[in-house]
Symmetry: C2
Subunit: 225 residues, 2 copies
Amino acid sequence: MNTSFDSIVIIFSGGMDSGTLLWDLYTIAPWREIHALTFDYGQRHKREIECAKRFIKECDNVTHKVISLDVLNDVAPSCLTRPSMEVPHGAYDGDNMRTTVVPNRNMVMLSLAISYAIGIGAGNVYYGAHAGDHTIYPDCRPEFVDAMNIVSKLCDWSPVEIIAPYLNYTKGQIAELGVSIGVPYELTHTCYEGSYPPCGKCGSCVERAEAFEYAGVPDPLLRKV
Amino acid sequence: MNTSFDSIVIIFSGGMDSGTLLWDLYTIAPWREIHALTFDYGQRHKREIECAKRFIKECDNVTHKVISLDVLNDVAPSCLTRPSMEVPHGAYDGDNMRTTVVPNRNMVMLSLAISYAIGIGAGNVYYGAHAGDHTIYPDCRPEFVDAMNIVSKLCDWSPVEIIAPYLNYTKGQIAELGVSIGVPYELTHTCYEGSYPPCGKCGSCVERAEAFEYAGVPDPLLRKV
């Protein structure tokens, strides 16, 4: 299998960050063959997956695969997947958001995305980790991505590189970029409670509101309500 | 969650190598809480999973979880999972066995085992990679295991170490060790064709036969036929 650097894989949750990344890649390099993977790991914010499907309809020629990952829900406890655990409200910071961590979620998703990339001969896997997540989620930090890239080069004969272009952006900066390139944010989902209209109270909603405030525009998701 | 170093996770396929490792851990340190994970990724040698279940019945107090990993079959092409591709017969070497590689299989399985270990507070994940696989499977090589250990330490707050004690053993040496500690090899499965009695022709059968020849004993699986 020859590696095609025009062919890329992106992990697309249906949220703001990976939505911006997908739109960014789609609009900047329309000649690239984009394969978006959305993982259904039993997250209570299932609406995110429906949003991912609607978002993709706006992107011509982007292949979309929703991958059932019940296994992650099965092996890894988190309030995002276990209805018996409460979603924390308030600040989006390390202590408050600890129960939202799905243990090792990103290594599982990245390793499957790498498998997929090897299978179709794609050279890159993109994912939308950003600086605002570094405190809460160890698997969104630069050193994690660097280490994953080392292991990714060793796991097979085909070189697959993980690229996380927003690794040092805040969510506010992502929103600012996204607004400038016309990301259809009304089609993204953020609320960890899975609510629509968004609950406005969970850490994830709080962080989204701060991002749009930074970008200086109202959140189109709220305009629709 | 506190990490318990008495609690360990092992990836147990139902084959010879991980069977020897499981028996080794089980007999050497019976006070440890052992959690064996078997992944069903649609391998054509399904009998391996049935063997895993029978093998575990011989191990008191070992917890066994069979994890459905259809997703790997879905994303990663290999003759082990796709009936349309033929299993190679003959020598167990790199060129001949190339189509048996499930792209990035071990990173996927290890990352899920790490998730599980974090969830239950176990400190180690054991897996039975060995020297005979180094040429064929990049994700069985020492440098891959070392790199996985770096990323494993970065993915979460709980330290999980991957331990592959047979990394520099040949399959013959594993068989020799296993015979000396009484591994019930008649309950393991090796044939990539999934046949019982084993086909005796696929690379995997050829390698098993060589291992028992090295150990100087007949394969109990063949005695049973």
